[in-house]
């Protein structure tokens, strides 16, 4: 069940944005594409307060990246004339891609974070009208030694804690960093996460973390790594493998339950060198005990699928019984109204799905 209202599912692809809506999360209406021929690698839906603001990170291969927002559920869009996500002339860099747009918690209503390529974190305190580069991370002495994943050198995950001034950032390939002071200073937090591709497989930083999700207990985290699935029960101070029971420890997706501690979802891929669902069988795996055990479901998913699911191409909504959503690089989008026990197709034959976000919005 959802709260009163419509569930909006925003689907960012390699060639535009589609919006799907549903009153029951089972029957969906799909819009015409917006921003056709632009990549939409990031979406944020900010439902705090009385207004729903939809954000997209746009990427035109010709005319560059930008952030845009809509206050009418995607009918019209605005770009900041000044103060968008742009480096200063003295920074010597140009924005390449906006990887994540993350509204902060309810008690910080104007704050919106963005994780970007080149590796950088940006903060807005005015509901996403203007953004400022986080200098603590940008000037970090480790920055010159952070590497690039295949998709680019990006801060792809920004996780502000609703409990305090803690923020976690994850980057490929820099690993997990934590700030305890709202973003002023940052420390690597990768103890226990392997970097098998480096001479020292247990470095202080440099891990290729694909996605980190925060549990409803804000001290608990889950991480899907470039080979390796982990949890931390101490804010990232230490990480333990929770890959046992999964068919593979590679993948990009990590989702956590918005209301119930210990529940998370992953969508494994076979391996670094074979980025397809294991045995060509697309499956979602759910844990309800913080990764001690996993349960697989393929209900409603195709018998064979050789497409990967990217890190931002999966999400949960915040309904009492949360919906789970994901899209594949083959352009099919699935939705579950029962916490990932069964799925239904929302759309198919779209361009590669890069990002999905869902929220209950006023009808």
């Amino acid at each position: 069940m959802t709260a009163a209202g419509t569930t909006l599912l925003a689907i960012g692809t390699k060639k535009g944005l589609w919006l799907a809506s549903s009153s029951d999360r089972e029957n969906w209406t799909l819009s015409e594409p917006k921003f056709l021929m632009e990549e939409i690698p990031s979406i944020g839906i900010d439902t705090r307060g009385s207004r729903t603001r939809l954000f997209v990170g746009r990427m035109s291969w010709h005319f560059g990246p930008c952030i845009a927002h809509s206050d009418d559920l995607g009918e019209t869009w605005a770009e900041p004339q000044e103060g968008g996500i742009r480096f200063g002339a003295d920074d010597g860099e140009a924005l390449e891609r906006i990887w994540q747009i993350q509204p902060d918690s309810e008690d910080r209503p104007g704050v919106v974070w963005a994780g970007c390529q080149p590796i950088s974190v940006w903060k807005s305190v005015d509901h996403g009208e203007t953004f400022e580069l986080n200098r603590g991370l940008w000037d970090h002495p480790h920055r010159s030694r952070w590497g690039a994943g295949f998709g680019g050198a990006a801060a792809h995950t920004v996780l502000p804690s609703p409990a305090d001034e803690t923020i976690h950032v994850a980057m490929s390939t820099g690993g997990v960093y934590r700030s305890d002071d709202g973003g002023t200073s940052w420390q690597p937090r990768n103890s226990g996460i392997s970097a098998y591709f480096m001479p020292d497989p247990n470095p202080e930083f440099g891990q290729c973390v694909h996605r980190v999700a925060r549990d409803v207990d804000p001290d608990h985290l889950f991480a899907q790594n470039h080979h390796g699935v982990y949890r931390s029960m101490d804010r990232g101070d230490s990480w333990q493998s929770i890959a046992a029971g999964l068919p593979a420890d590679f993948g990009f997706v990590m989702l956590s339950h918005p209301h119930r501690s210990g529940t998370a979802w992953v969508i494994p891929l076979k391996a670094d060198g074979e980025r397809i669902p294991p045995d060509g069988r697309l499956m979602v795996h759910r844990t309800e005990d913080s990764g001690t055990t996993w349960e697989a479901t393929a209900a409603g998913l195709p018998a064979a699928d050789y497409n990967a699911v990217l890190r931002d191409a999966a999400c949960v909504d915040t309904a009492l019984i949360p919906g789970v959503y994901f899209g594949t690089r083959g352009g099919t989008v699935y939705a579950s109204a029962d916490e990932g026990r069964s799925f239904r197709e929302v759309a198919s034959h779209l361009p590669d799905v890069l990002s999905v976000r869902a929220a209950v919005v006023p009808a």
């Binding site: 005319f63 560059g64 930008c66 000044e82 968008g84 742009r86 480096f87 010597g92 860099e93 140009a94």
Partner: protein, 95 residues
């Protein structure tokens, strides 16, 4: 002050109220950079689509001055004589 004509590609016309060409009067420095500065004065989003924050011309944006690709000339320093036509066009890239 002198005048040049700038031809605008379809995807950038929304930043110019739909116009396909516009006359601009850059200061007499006479290079492409000054022409773009004049074109984008008061139109920051148009400027961001053409040049990166570093000032560099975006990789897949091509500009021709009187039919010559500026990347084969002096880039943003290419001389733009009075009466010239500056054509901005997205490159034939993509899949």
């Amino acid at each position: 002050m002198y005048s040049v004509t700038v031809l605008i590609p379809t995807l950038l016309r929304p930043y110019l109220d739909g116009r396909s060409e516009i006359g601009v009067e850059p200061p007499p420095r006479g290079d492409l950079s000054s022409v773009l500065d004049a074109l984008c004065e008061g139109r920051p989003l148009l400027g961001q689509r053409i040049r990166e924050e570093t000032g560099a011309l975006r990789r897949y944006v091509n500009i021709f001055v009187d039919g010559e690709d500026v990347r084969r000339l002096d880039g943003l320093g290419t001389e733009v004589p009075p009466g010239a036509t500056v054509m901005i066009v997205q490159s034939v890239a993509g899949g």
